[in-house]
Structure formats: structure tokens, C-alpha cells
Subunit: 458 residues, 2 copies
């Protein structure tokens, strides 16, 4: 921390907008990265953000925007300069029922966005493990995915309008609920997923949906992933958009989570699917309908949630996988996606290749089979936690080469940050990277916005 | 036409890829603009497109991509250089049922994309008046909207991956069905809606959906737009995503269309709504359910389609408005959108303002109330067709000022082309326009891609 710099900002900000650097702001959720900013600012208004950016632009001081600090790729970790924490910029600006939209400031916690929508009788569908602490601005900056992309799309698909403070302090505000608006190149989508490297997202207008009035939740045991893909096709062909979640869990992932959760395993099988149908019209017979469907198609190794408590227990088993796997030590995480028809082949081929290089390796595989994205976490039980990352490049290379040979992506929903940026030249052409650099140079000529993130080193 | 230039292209293309300039290629659908290219090319392969672009890039020859030539803003009208007609690049590349996607080349007619999806038991939802002749590449280049954006989004929302030939001839291909993929700035969305100014879209991977298994279609007469907005809220609150279309028709528009179609008016009223519910599960009682709902809420001046023929007749009344209004002469068209709560206010205020300036003016107002977008077409019955456009600027100014004061957009789904580009500085900030120019300069340093379109003159 730099007391002189803090004093400079204190001279034109409110006293409480210049804050102490507490550990929760400096250390990321996975305890992997430690930020080392010169000053930590918590602006309360968009005007403060603009004044901060103008000041930094003139003096070429770097600025790293930070939401809930739940990112998994190091994108919100400040090295020097200003750590710009947006948690105080968290007001509800507007709910618009005619257009089914909500306008909120970037620092609102995702769960609160969901709650504000619910209070108005609507659904804001984005849902992911860290929803109790991640902030909507961070979700937008990373184009977060989560549990129901299958039905509602990623964060990108939910954003109607953005308000952004550019690196020079200028405000660009298009907080509008219009579903059709085509007036020149789509700048909005450049900011979504740009991980704070192009400007500071300060507010957004987001889509709302009808609340589900009926739900059916099933847990199905299957011998292999091919069977799970077959079930997915059947369910989509029949229930179509009513299918909201279709989550894959491996035997090992379920064992970990069941132990951690003190809950029984719903069924015994190599692979498991947790699926949920919802309907916006009341329909008490939806669970029976799903049960009948599973029975008719021979998926008898399955359990239907018979109460809201049973439904919550099934979801606990899915959601506790992340927490339960910590008993295995520090993981090298892979947030990947392949076309759905390629999932089985990828899983079949990748684990033996990893075992050939690391005989002791353990893989915890689970994720959103409905949209082809997997959390593929690897553990080296013999390796001390602080040495795990020495193996990251070798493990990543094996996993990512398999992903690319199966026409997949190395970054489905966690972003790029610092840990994947050297892979960008493998997945984007030179012309695309040159275009990204031109966009960056135009908006941020002094490279003050979250430098060192997302774009590969020159 | 330039015989020397034609010979240069004939030297490295197949003979039949250099074609004669027939009127259907030169004159736009509205007979407003006439193209004057030096040469017309119809490449049959992506390789030919690349060779054409490389040749033009080196020699700084301008290239105007053209699809079905159904654009309404002059974006596909070539002035000099190459008119690059993509209609022969029209193959089906792949249908992927596991990922619910279809990959087609840019020149495939929209209706054929719909038909290929239907053959595979799926729905490609994009639907608009010119679907029998417009091409999917043009739809993507303009981010076309249409009849069911309410449920499925605009073209932008339907594109998973793009294949683009850049101005220098380089191919950027991301034809992938992944729903989650966040690897750097989103270049895809720059090309969507860029109206051929950044490169040539040659193929796309598009989302497919379940086919509707049941449909309910109603025509409702209402005293005013406020009542129509009230009905929309009620229907959305109850039927949610089952609402696929919610079309507004004025009394005058219905009179024109009923006369043209030789069909009776379904009901007598000042304003009319044509709405359609669909469900991907079979549900024979959906029409009864809708009828009961309308009756319970007092919308008794309404008609339910009792057969597929009755349904088609109701849609004919909606779809024939465009054709029927030609009897009024040449129109100044406005393709606008406002937040739904602002629609009534806009319509109430704008027509008197137009009448104050042009006492004889007639307004044909109809459109997609469900997403707030309107076709607001104005006619000057006393003015000769060839003189109508002399009044365009004055009429546009009145309409657009009202649109902007109601927080709307001057370009909902038709694009910008040449006729609206001078309005861009009113709706985008200087920083945004500078960013657009930087993107353009990076990809197209010689300004050969569709010059003079979309971007405001410098």
C-alpha cells in the first residue's frame, strides 16, 4: 500500500471510499493469488468511478476492477495500482415489468439480483455455486455460465444494456430494455467477457423471465456417459425447453460429496445425472410425467424428488462436490466444453492419458452435460499443496490437447485471467488477436485497465 | 460493368463465377436504389471468396456482399467495385442433433434453413416477411429480427459460431455448437450486425429448438394501445415463454390488408392484436385454455383460430400489410423500437406531430408489440412517388425525435445501411464511434469492405 497515493485519492473522494487492504480483498477465493495493490478504493457512485478513472488515466495508474473476488483464473488480482472494489455500487436502479427487465449496479451480489427479481414475481435465472458472494458486474465481465445455460443462456444472453466507465473516465450508458436495437457494431458484447480490461462495468439492464410454477427433479444412475447423452437427447426431444438442468456427476464425485454432505447416495452407478424440469404454468403432474417417461425408456435406476426437502438434498449432492473435493488437496481445475456428442470420447481418452503421465492422479469430473461443459478437476495426492501448481502446465497440456482434438474450448465459463492467457494463440487466429489488441489500444491506450489479464503477452 | 476487370477475375475463378449484372441483382427490393458495380461475382466456394478478397485487398477494389437483396436500408447496394453475390454458397454443412445446431453456408435462403431444420425434427425460429428470398448470411449481417424475437431472440441470439473471410482474404472459422465459450473478446458479435463492412460471412452454426406440438392463435380487438400493453402483461405473466408472437395492427393497417387479402376483418376495433401461443408438448386444449383466459379477463372482442386454415387466414391479414400498403404509394419506413411501456405514448404523440407538418400524411402502424418494435410507415398521398424521398429527412426527424424522447431506437431490425448512418452520432457516443472506426481500420485498412455503409461519414 502506498500512503501517498491513498492521500491523493482521499483528496477528491469521500473519506470512506479509500479503504484498508483487508485479506478478503487481497486473497482470492481459492487462496492461490495474493493481490498487491498500491491503494484500495470502494467508490459509492458512478461519479466517483469516473473521477477515479480520469485521475488514473492522466497519471497512467493501473486499475483492477474487483467484484466478489470469487474468480477462478486470477482476473481480479491487482498487482500494483488501484484495486477498484465495486461492492458499494450495489443499488437496484429499476424493475420494468412491461419489458421484463431489471437494472442493477455492478456491485449487487448475484443472489440479491435473484431476490429482487423474485420480489417482483419474476425469475433472474443466472445461478452458480458462488451466487451468495459473486457480484453481477463480475458475472458480466467473465460471461459467467452456471446451472441453467441450457434453458436461459450465459450471462451474455441475459444482458440487454450496459453502463460502462471507459479508461479515460467517459461514461457510456445504454441501460435500455430493448430486445431489438441494431445501430452499428455491437460494443456491448466486447465488454461482456472482457474481464475488466476495457473499462469498468457500473450497471446493467438484465432480462427477467417468468417464475417456474412447477418443478420435477430426478436423479438417474447410468453405466456410462454415452447412456447419459442418449437420455439427454430423449429428454430434449420430449420436454424441450422445460429441461432446465442436466448435470453429470461421476461415481467418485458423488462418493466425495455424499460423504461431505452426510447424505445417502440416491442410486448406485458409474455415472449420475441430476435433471430438473420446470414449467411456468402450474402442473402438479410434472413429476409423475417425468417418472413415467424414465420408466418407459428403461431408466429404472432413478429417484424422483418427492418433496422440496428431497429436491434440496439432491441439489446438495451436486453443489457440494466443489467443497468436498478439497479433502483431496489443491486441484488443477479445468473449465472446459466440447460438443455434446464428444463428451464421452473426451472423458474416455483423457483420464488414461493423464494416468500415463501421473499414475497417482485422481480426476473429479462433473458438470453441465446439457450444454457440454465439464468441471474436470485433477488432484495429485502425493504432492504437497504448495507444489501442485508446478505440475499445472503439464497437466493442462494433456487436458487441453484432448479438448482441442474433440473440437472443444479450454475456457467455458471461468474466463482466462492470468492462468490461461498463454493458450489464447492456440484457440484464436493471429488476425483475431490483432483485432483484440486494436480494441484494447483504442479504449485503453495507456494499458491501465487490468493490465496483464486476458490478452496473451505480446 | 468493367469488361477488363471481369476478365481479371475470370482468369482465376471458374467461368460461371463471373456473371452478368441482371436487374434482380442491381435493383433493390423496394426499387429505391440501383447498384452500379464494376463486376458481379457469384463464388461457389469459400476458397473462391478468399481468392476474390485477396485479389481485391491487394488492388484496393471495393467489395459489397449481397444476399437475397431484400435489405431495406441500402446496405447491399454496390457503387463500383465487386458486387459479391453469395447465393451459390448455399450448402447445408451439418445438422447436429445432440447439440441442437445446424451449420449452413451464408447463401442459403432463410426458408430453406427452416425446412432443413424441420426435416431433422427441429425448429429454426427466425421468421420474417422476406423469408422466401432473404439469405441467412444477410440475416446475420443485419441482425434480423422478425415475428418471434419475444421467445427466441434476434438473429444475434441464434448464432453459435461464424465462418468469416476477412478483407485480406484470411479465413476465421469458429463453426462450433458450444453454448459456453469465453476465450477473449467476442469477435463474433462484431460481425453480426456489421452489414458486410468487416468481412464476408460465409457460414454459420445456428441454434435449433424443439418444434411446437401445439398452437393457439387469437385475434383480439382493443380500444387503445394501453389495453394491448395490459393484455401483453397478463399473457406474459400467465403463459410466459409459451407466448411466441404478439403482433399489433392498427385499424387502418387492417383495413388495407383485409381489402388486399379479400378476407373479412376478424373483429371491429381501433387496435388489434394477433397472438400465438405454442407448446413443445402436445396439448389439444391450449386453444380452449387461451379462449377461457381471454373471456375471464374481459377480452371478449376476440376470435380464436378453430382450424389451421383459420390460423393461416389470421396470419395472412398480418403478413399482407406490407404488400397492401403499396396502394398508398411509396412509403417512408421507420423500423423503430421503444420500451413497451412507452409504445402508447409514442404513437399518441407522433402522429399529431406529423400531421402538423404534413396535414395529408397517412400512417400505417403495425409490428411486434411483444418486443416493443414497430413498423411505422408514412405516406404522402399528394406527392409523386419519385419525389417522396425529398421529404424523408423532415419526416424522419419528427419520428426519430419522438423515438429518442421515449428512450427508443431508430433501428430495431432493418439495420443502418446508407439511409440512417447520419443518425448514428445521435445514438452512439463519440468514444463508441471511434471504437467502431478502430475496429474497421484494423480489419479493413483500405476500406474496401462495403464502403459508405453503416458508419457515419467522417
Amino acid at each position: 500500500m502506498n500512503a501517498d497515493l491513498s492521500a491523493q485519492f482521499a483528496a477528491f473522494l469521500d473519506n470512506d471510499e479509500v479503504v484498508a487492504a483487508t485479506p478478503d480483498l487481497l486473497i482470492d477465493q481459492r487462496r492461490r493469488f495474493t493481490a498487491a495493490p498500491d491503494v484500495v478504493l470502494k467508490p459509492k457512485t458512478v461519479d466517483s468511478v469516473q473521477r477515479i478513472m480520469r485521475y488514473c488515466f492522466e497519471r497512467k495508474i493501473s486499475v483492477t476492477p474487483q467484484g466478489g473476488n470469487t474468480g477462478l483464473c486470477g482476473a481480479a488480482v491487482a498487482q500494483g495500482g488501484v484495486l477498484l472494489n465495486l461492492s458499494r455500487l450495489n443499488r437496484l436502479r429499476e424493475i420494468n415489468l412491461a419489458d421484463n427487465s431489471i437494472t442493477v449496479e455492478a456491485g449487487m451480489v448475484l443472489q440479491q439480483v435473484q431476490e429482487e427479481a423474485a420480489k417482483a414475481g419474476r425469475l433472474f435465472p443466472l445461478s452458480l455455486a458462488s451466487e451468495g458472494s459473486c457480484q453481477i458486474g463480475g458475472n458480466i465481465a467473465c460471461n459467467a455460465g452456471g446451472l441453467n445455460v441450457l434453458r436461459y443462456g450465459t450471462t451474455r444472453d441475459l444482458v440487454l444494456g450496459l453502463e460502462v466507465v471507459l479508461p479515460d473516465g467517459e461514461l457510456v450508458s445504454h441501460l435500455q430494455p430493448l430486445h431489438k436495437n441494431t445501430t452499428g457494431y455491437d460494443v456491448r458484447h466486447l465488454f461482456i467477457g472482457s474481464e475488466g480490461t476495457l473499462g469498468v462495468i457500473t450497471a446493467a439492464t438484465l432480462k427477467l423471465f417468468a417464475q417456474p410454477k412447477s418443478t420435477a427433479t430426478a436423479w438417474v444412475g447410468l453405466p456410462d456417459i454415452d447412456s447419459a447423452v442418449g437420455l439427454l437427447s430423449l429428454v430434449q426431444g420430449h420436454f424441450a425447453e422445460r429441461l432446465e438442468s442436466f448435470e453429470l456427476v461421476s461415481r467418485f464425485a458423488l462418493e466425495l460429496s455424499a460423504g461431505y454432505s452426510s447424505l445417502p447416495k440416491p442410486v448406485d452407478a458409474e455415472w449420475h445425472i441430476l435433471m430438473e424440469l420446470t414449467d411456468s404454468l402450474p402442473n402438479d403432474s410434472l413429476p409423475d410425467y417425468l417418472a413415467e417417461f424414465l420408466y418407459q425408456h428403461g431408466f429404472e435406476n432413478s429417484v424422483l424428488a418427492q418433496s422440496e426437502q428431497e429436491r434440496r438434498d439432491l441439489w446438495q449432492l451436486r453443489e457440494n462436490i466443489s467443497a468436498s473435493q478439497r479433502s483431496l488437496g489443491t486441484s488443477i481445475k479445468h473449465d472446459i466444453a466440447v460438443p455434446i456428442a464428444e463428451v464421452a470420447g473426451f472423458v474416455r481418452e483423457c483420464e488414461p492419458a493423464l494416468q500415463a503421465a501421473f499414475p497417482e492422479i485422481r480426476v473429479v469430473c462433473f458438470g453441465h452435460l446439457g450444454d457440454g461443459s465439464l468441471h474436470y478437476n485433477t488432484f495429485l495426492p502425493d504432492v504437497m499443496s504448495n507444489e501442485v501448481y508446478e505440475y499445472e502446465d503439464r497437466i493442462n497440456t494433456i487436458v487441453y490437447e484432448h479438448i482441442l482434438s474433440h473440437k472443444g474450448t479450454i475456457a467455458a465459463e471461468h474466463g482466462i485471467g492470468t492462468i490461461k492467457k498463454h493458450w489464447i494463440p492456440r484457440v484464436r487466429t493471429a488476425a483475431e488477436i490483432a483485432l483484440m489488441r486494436a480494441v484494447k489500444a483504442q479504449l485503453d491506450p495507456h494499458n491501465i485497465m487490468n493490465p496483464g489479464k486476458l490478452l496473451p503477452d505480446a
